[in-house]
Each structure stands twice: as structure tokens, then as C-alpha cells.
């Protein structure tokens, strides 16, 4: 029996709670829609092999194969994909650092890439309200800066990219979470004519480290009573030993025990194998420094993955946009350990969901088998 792509996404992805709300399907097809951090099937469609199925990061694919071309074989790691270099980075511009999350590396790089003409526009997540974001096409430095700061709820950025790619000329960069990076990589690799049309417009992908994200509605509910969700201006999650969520409320900061909000984490995140946004040109996350969180919160760590990523970082460094520092000793190993931990959890959860240890649903059979089975947490 032929199952239509719509039915597969509806049953296997949405029905299994695997949907990451990247918005790929909604950006490709009016039979799907997105709102805040939700993507939903709207109207039945009977395409046998639709672009939605090809692009969806939770329909079967081989993520390792997708990243293999980014770097020479010896630079591919089991835990976190291609790694050319690891840097501790931050924006030189203090204003960007103040607005951005941690060191403001992504904002500074994005603005630089625009000004250098490396891309014509960025697709980034801009705050919609205090706890949710919308994908936004940024063609100016000011627009990029307006998107500074991490959104801890999903924003359908891939949908935003596709919508722009089908409508507007030019080459786009996308700032994306790991699941979104996977969708973008699948779009790039696909032979589907619609996806090829979009892939031609995709110039650069900056990935964001991600442990998991919150459901907007659930986070709002979890925070209410502690803080007024409407007053929240930003969120941050310090290293795991702090076990807290930092909530910024109009200039002041408060801390909510992580245990009070873990119930608001998207169920889909439990099945995600990627912490460091492997299919990207550069991946950026929060740093871990010897001076602890008070120091690290002003820095990022940046993984250079592709040649293009490397060129961008070098040019930004040469132009005095970023401060680059060697990472502290053992930083890469710590990162790998954390990334491997997320992979193992995801594989365990997927096997549980499929009720078959060999069936990893959207991941190929045997995926992650070679991960060492010791050690824990960053």
C-alpha cells in the first residue's frame, strides 16, 4: 500500500511526537501550517513522494552521510560530526555582546557576512513575544541585531527559509538549531525538484548548540505564578550543575529551578541525537571556561565544520569582528562527552518508542553503535 507523504508526516512524525516544528513541511506546502512553536497538518494531501517527506528531519535519513562531505574523513568525530577547529569566541562589539546571548558570536558573524556580501539575507529567529519567536528575513545589520538572543522555544526557521527562497532572489544564510540544520542538509542533498530550487539559495548555515527546547504553551504555564510570562525579556540555561533556568525580567534576573520547568520541554527533544548542530558550516554554543559560569557566560565556543565556515571565521577575525581564543585544555573532549550523552539518550528513547531495539525510526539501523558506552555529562 502506498502511504502518502502527508500521512507519513502526520502519523510517523506528528503522531509519534517527533515533530521538531522546524517548519520545513509548512514552508513547502500549504497542506501544513505553523504558528509559534507548533507545526500542524491542516488538509489531507495525496502526493506519494512529496518534498515534505524528503525535507523532514524526522523522516528516515542518514545524518552521518549528510555531513561526510563537510570535512576530511579524519576530522569527522563519532560524537559531534565534522570538527575542523574549536574556538572560544566573542564579538568585539560590546553592544552586540550585551544584546546577544553569551559572546554575541552569531550576531556579529551574521552582520559581517551580510556586509561582506557572502549572503544577501539571513533567516533568523526574532522574538515574537516574550517566550516565542518568528522566522525573520534579515537584510540589514539592524535586522540581524533585532534577532540577537536565544529563543528557548522552537521557531520554524526552515519554513521561513523556504518561504523566502521560493519568493525572493538572492542567497540566504540560516541560523538554525540542530534539527533544523538536519532539515537544511536534507534539502541540500535531495534530488526533489522543489528542494533543489530552494537549495540553490542556501549559502551558509550557522548552527546553534541545543540540549532541548521548551514548548511555548507549557513553558508559559510552568513560569506563570513565578513570573509574568509577558515580562520575560530573555532566558538562559547555565551549565547543568547549576540545575536552573535564568529568567531575565526587564533588566533584573531571577532563577527558576530547572526541575520546575523540565516538564515543559518538547517531547520531541527526547529523540534528538544532535547537541552541536553537526550539519552546519559553523556551530556556536555557550562556552565552558576555567573561571566558571560568570566568566563563560560572556563567551561562546564555536566549532568550525566546513571550509566555508572556516573562511568566514578567518575573515571575521582578520576584520577585527571577533575575538578568538584557544579553548581551555580538554574542552573538545568535554563537548564530545556531552554530545555523546545526548546521542545515547536519544537512541535509547527511540528504541523504546519503536518497541524494538534495532528500530530507531528516523535514524538508520545501527546508528551510534560505535559510541563508547562510558562516562557522563559536561
Amino acid at each position: 500500500m502506498v502511504q502518502h507523504s502527508f500521512g507519513k508526516l502526520n502519523n510517523d512524525v506528528v503522531g509519534n511526537n517527533l515533530c521538531t516544528a522546524c517548519g520545513a513541511c509548512a514552508g513547502l506546502c500549504p497542506h501544513f501550517g505553523s504558528y509559534k512553536d507548533r507545526v500542524a497538518p491542516l488538509h489531507e494531501c495525496t502526493q506519494p513522494l512529496g518534498a515534505c517527506e524528503e525535507a523532514c528531519p524526522r523522516m528516515p535519513s542518514d545524518p552521518e552521510a549528510l555531513v561526510r562531505a563537510a570535512a576530511p574523513q579524519e576530522m569527522i568525530t563519532q560524537e559531534m560530526g565534522p570538527v575542523r577547529r574549536l574556538w572560544v569566541t566573542r564579538a568585539k562589539d560590546e553592544d552586540i555582546r550585551n544584546r546577544g546571548q553569551h559572546g554575541g558570536t552569531v550576531t556579529a558573524l551574521a552582520a559581517f557576512a551580510l556586509e561582506q556580501g557572502l549572503v544577501d539575507a539571513w533567516i533568523m529567529a526574532r522574538s515574537h513575544d516574550s517566550l516565542s519567536g518568528v522566522p525573520t528575513v534579515c537584510r540589514t545589520r539592524a535586522q540581524v541585531q533585532a534577532c540577537a538572543g536565544t529563543k528557548l522555544t522552537s521557531v520554524p526557521v526552515v519554513g521561513g527559509f523556504l518561504e523566502a527562497a521560493f519568493k525572493d532572489p538572492g542567497r540566504f544564510g540560516v541560523v538554525a538549531t540542530p534539527c533544523q540544520c538536519l532539515a537544511l542538509a536534507k534539502i541540500k542533498a535531495s534530488d526533489h525538484p522543489r528542494l533543489r530550487q530552494a537549495a540553490e539559495k542556501l549559502a551558509l548555515v550557522v548552527g546553534l548548540f541545543c540540549g532541548w527546547s521548551f514548548g511555548h504553551r507549557e513553558l508559559s504555564r510552568a513560569l506563570s505564578g513565578r513570573v509574568d510570562p509577558d515580562d520575560v525579556t530573555g532566558l538562559d540555561i547555565p551549565p547543568s550543575r547549576h540545575q536552573s533556568l535564568e529568567v531575565f525580567i526587564k533588566g533584573r534576573e531571577t532563577s527558576v529551578p530547572l526541575s520546575k520547568v523540565t516538564g515543559a520541554v518538547r517531547p520531541a527533544c527526547a529523540y534528538c541525537f544532535d547537541m552541536t548542530a553537526e550539519p552546519a558550516d559553523l556551530s556556536v554554543g555557550s562556552a565552558r571556561l576555567p573561571g566558571g559560569w560568570d566568566e563563560a557566560r560572556h563567551w561562546n565556543q564555536t566549532v568550525v565544520r566546513s571550509q566555508m565556515g572556516e573562511d568566514l571565521l578567518e575573515r571575521a577575525n582578520a576584520a577585527g569582528i571577533l575575538t578568538l581564543q584557544e579553548p581551555p585544555e580538554g574542552a573538545l573532549e568535554k563537548l564530545k562527552t556531552a554530545a555523546a550523552g545526548k546521542k545515547r539518550t536519544a537512541l535509547k528513547n527511540l528504541a523504546q518508542l519503536s518497541k524494538n531495539p534495532d528500530d530507531l525510526l528516523y535514524l538508520p539501523r545501527g546508528f551510534g553503535k560505535s559510541l563508547s558506552s562510558t562516562e557522563h555529562g559536561a
Binding site: C29, H31, G33, A40, E44
Partner: protein
Amino acid sequence: MVHPITQESPDQVMLLMGNEAIARGIIEAGASIAAAYPGNPSSDIVDTLAKAAKNLDMHVEWSVNEKVALEVAAAAAMTGLRGVSAMKQNGLNVACDFLLNLNLSGIRGGLVLVICDDPSGISSTNEQDSRLYAKMGELPLLEPSTFQEAKDMTREAFELSEKLGLPVLLHSVTRLSHARGNVTLGPLPGPKGKPSFDRSRPFVNVPAPANAHRRLKEKIERCRDIFESSPRNFYQGPERPDVMLITTGAGLFYSLEGVEALGLDVQVGILKVGTTFPLPSRFLLKHLKKAQQVVFVEEGAPFLESGVKELYAEHAAGLPSISFLGKAEGALPQVGELNPDVMIRLLGRLLDCPRETRPESYEHGIRAAVDELVPDRDLAFCAGCPHRATYWAIKQALALDGRNGFVCGDIGCYGMGGGPAGWSQMNTMQAMGSGAGVAAGMGQLTNMGLDQPVVAICGDSTFYHAAIPALINARQHGSNFLFLVLDNDATAMTGFQPHPGLGTTATGQAAPPVAIGDLCRAMGYPVDMCDPYDLKATTDAIMRGLEHEGPQVLILKRTCALVAARQGIPPGRVILDTDRCIGENCGCGRMCTSAFRCPGLGWDPVTKTARIDQAICTGCGVCTRICPTGALKTEATS
């Protein structure tokens, strides 16, 4: 110009629809007030009077609902004049609280309540036999069978009402109200008296309603006496019939057709009863004496049937043994309309002269031809209907909200939203205003663990009719739901009668409009408004409403496409850029014709692109907003 229905030409024969014949009867009776709320099959009665009103010394109004309509009409009868109201069966349910008190308090002038039942529920949400109200309210009931009777019995109903000091019910059904026949006109009335209210004779049943009830019993017995000699009851047929058909209302024609078709006029007699409550006992007993086999032929419930059987049981000692057949025995269908075939089959069986009414082979042939030639067509909204856009937005919003929200619905064109026309988005539908009332209850359950968002929808006319008390109730008790008013500037389903929001009356007089938004704000609701043609804004507004805690109102305002066309609002023109249409391909999959399905859109199997039927398309442009490639676009028309 003088409306033909008001002409003073006695004995002239006019071809009239049953409802027009009733309207002419009202005119000949000299009624001073005619008030109604539209509802088919009754609407044409007051529609006809409204059109003729300028030639009549009569106040004609479309009232806010049936209860108010009957109250307005009763005012004429409380001041010595004549009043009339007309309503469908559901309307009588709305009006019955007033009616079942007015029966006790009585009246001084003449009050006639015309009730048009809709067997099979062809244009209704239910099927009910309203005649049972006559028995419950102990009110005289007249059932005309012919078009002439429709007019004449209406006039006679006023005379009876005045004679008894009681409202009189006149009962019609779709096949009488909506069919046409010849009617000989009677004279028009002379000048009417001056209304005056006599304070010494108040219409108040307390403190002793039982006393008033006793007086009602006396009146109804006087009425029975009057009915004994009514020319509306007669027998035709052989002195000793093999079968006696006892019939009333539209049943008379089915009876006549059955007898004629089988040539049974020497074996079958017809006892036609036009006054079915209270039953004329002496008249009936006289004719029952010659019967051996009785068949009851009436639309709706076994009403006449049970009355006659009751009478027979009381007087069995003096009567021959009679075998009765009717709905109670299942000899005639207990639901749905009667038709001549039913009679022909039954009589053929009883009198052993079977006649095939429709050969089976013919029926199979027809079915095969229909399957082959006629495309499947669902009930659908008109091209350009704002309700299609509204339901599209509701569907999107509820899906994106993701909590399995549901919609408590109401009565109107948008009632089709329960089916494919509205993608099954409407999930309850009972009485007028019930969407709001049911949602008011559902909105309480959200405090008890019902974790699905509750939406109610209601049209503009329905809003005034019955939603307001429910909304007040919901506000008082803090029910949590989103109330959507589908304001299309029309009482569209029943034929575009004016309602209180439109700034006009039944007779075209200017009236101060009563704004729905103002009423809702006065009740304390936050009110948002948007144009359903703007799908994105509407979907977003519904999404906001679903996320908002607490009750709120969203008015979706867009004039009915049929009204807009009548008003000459210049339509746009939707055109197709065939180069951009990707048709069945991925990324669209014929969104416009497979999902949206406006009747103005078609599919060209040769070019494999959409096709616009310019004869049907209103140019509303909603499809241009669902087209993913911009192939459908609107161009201005001069």
C-alpha cells in the same frame, strides 16, 4: 403600485402559493398586526404581507424571535383588534411559553397563530408535529387541505378566535405552504376599530391559574360544539365503504390520488376533518358507524389517529367492530413525508388490487444513470460565501492550536459547517442560540479538566434571536470560550429578511441599528472584529482568541455574497496565471479544488491547471489567498 394580493376583486381566481393564500386570508380578515420570525416553510406569509404592507392598514414586522413575534401580535388581540403570527415548528417551541399562558388569560380580539410544519425536515434541523401543542395548550386547531381552504380557514380562524376569546392555531405543512393552486378571492374588510386596553379586565392568570384553566375547558367545549357543524369536516364516498380513509391537511390529496389511481371510489370513502382539535365527536361517531376498516392519512404524528381511536374506545358499545390502520400499526410511515405511492401501495394491498407504483427495473435504471451521469455534489456554500472563508480559518486555527478544540454551532447557512462544506468543523447544532448556551456550559467544564478549547459560532440574526441570554449567562458565570459571530448582514437562510442590526424593517422603514459589538461590549466581553475574507488575519484572530484566558467575542464581518450581488457591490475578477499554476504537483496538490472547493473553481483535466468559472465566481479573492504559488489573482473590474 398596488400589490396583487391586496386587490379588491371578490370572486376573482388567483393562482396562489399556499402561504400566499394564508396571507390573503389574513388581509381579508383585516388583521392589524402581523409579526413573525422567518423560518421555512412559513416565511412567505409575512414576506408577502411585508411587500403588500403599504396598501394595508397593518403593522408588519420581522420580529427578533418567535416568542416576541407572538407577543407583538397578541397585543392587537388584547386591545380588540386582530393579530397574527406565523412560524415554523421550531419557532413554536420558542413561542410556546407565552402561548401556554395566553391560552389561560385569553384575548379580546382575534389572534391566529399559523404553524408550518416541515415533514422530513427538508428545510429544518428537526422533524416534529406541532399539532400536539394544540392538545397541550387546549387550543383550537384548524388544518386546511386545499389552497382555497388555506385562505378561507385563515379568515374563519379569526372569527373563531374572537368568538371564543382564544388564540387559534392554523396548521400547514410544506406541501400546502409551498405548492400553488387556484384560490377564489373574497372581499376586503372594512375600516378597523380603534384599539383600546380595558384595565378592568387584565390578562393575568394568577393568583388562581386553575380557575383560568376551568374557563379554558369551557371555551374548548364550546369550540367542539362549533366544530360539530363545520363545513370543513365532511364525508365523501359510498354509504358502506370497504375502507374509510380518515384524513386531514395535506393527507386529503394523498387520499384522493390513491383512490383515483386505483379506481376505488365505489369502495373507499374519505372522511376529511379540517378541525382536528377539539375533535367534533358527534360528527365523527356518526360516520364511524358506517366504517369497518379505517385508515388514517395524515402528515406527522398519529394525531388525528389517536384522537379518533380514543373516541372509539369511549363509545365502542354503540359502534360496529372497526379495524384501524395508521402510523401506530406501521401501515403508514412514522417518519418522513407521505407521498401518493405510499397510499397506492396500501390501498392496493388492502383491497387486493395491487398496482406497481414504480417498477423496480425503472428504479434500478434511474440509479445507474444517476451514478454515471450526475457528479457527487455535497451541500456547499455559495461562491464567495464568507462562511467558507470562516470555516477555513477555524480549521486552520484549531489544527494549529493542537488541543482538539471544538465548535458549538447554531442554526443558519453556516449550519452546513457540520458537513463537508465546512470541513466538519461545526460539532453541535440544536436550537437557535444553542451554540452560545452549550458553550457556556462547556466553558465551565474547562475548569474541571476539559482541556480542549471551546468555540461557539452564531450568525447575526441568530445572535439577536437567542444568543444574548446565553452570553449574559456565560459572562456572569465566567465561562471560558471564544464566541464567533458570523455577521453577514443578512438572515440569509430564510430569504434575506432584515434583522435588528441592519437599520431597516420588514416594510423598508429606516430603523436605528442595534450593533452586535456594542451589545457584547456592554455585556463585558472583549470584542475583536475581522473580515473573514482576510484568511490570515482571521486565523490569527482565532488563534489569539483560543490562547486568551476567559470569554471573548470575535465578530467576523462580511456581507453575504448574494446580498452583495443584489446590492450591486462591484465584484472583483479572479484570474489564473496558468504558468504559475502547479496543479496536482507537490507544493499544491490542487489546493483550490481538492481542499478549498469553492464552486467557482474547477479543474481542467487537459492543461492540468485550475479553471475559474466566471459565471459563478464572485471575485471575492479568498482563493487567491490559499493558492500557494500566486497563480490565482484578483484583478479590478471597471
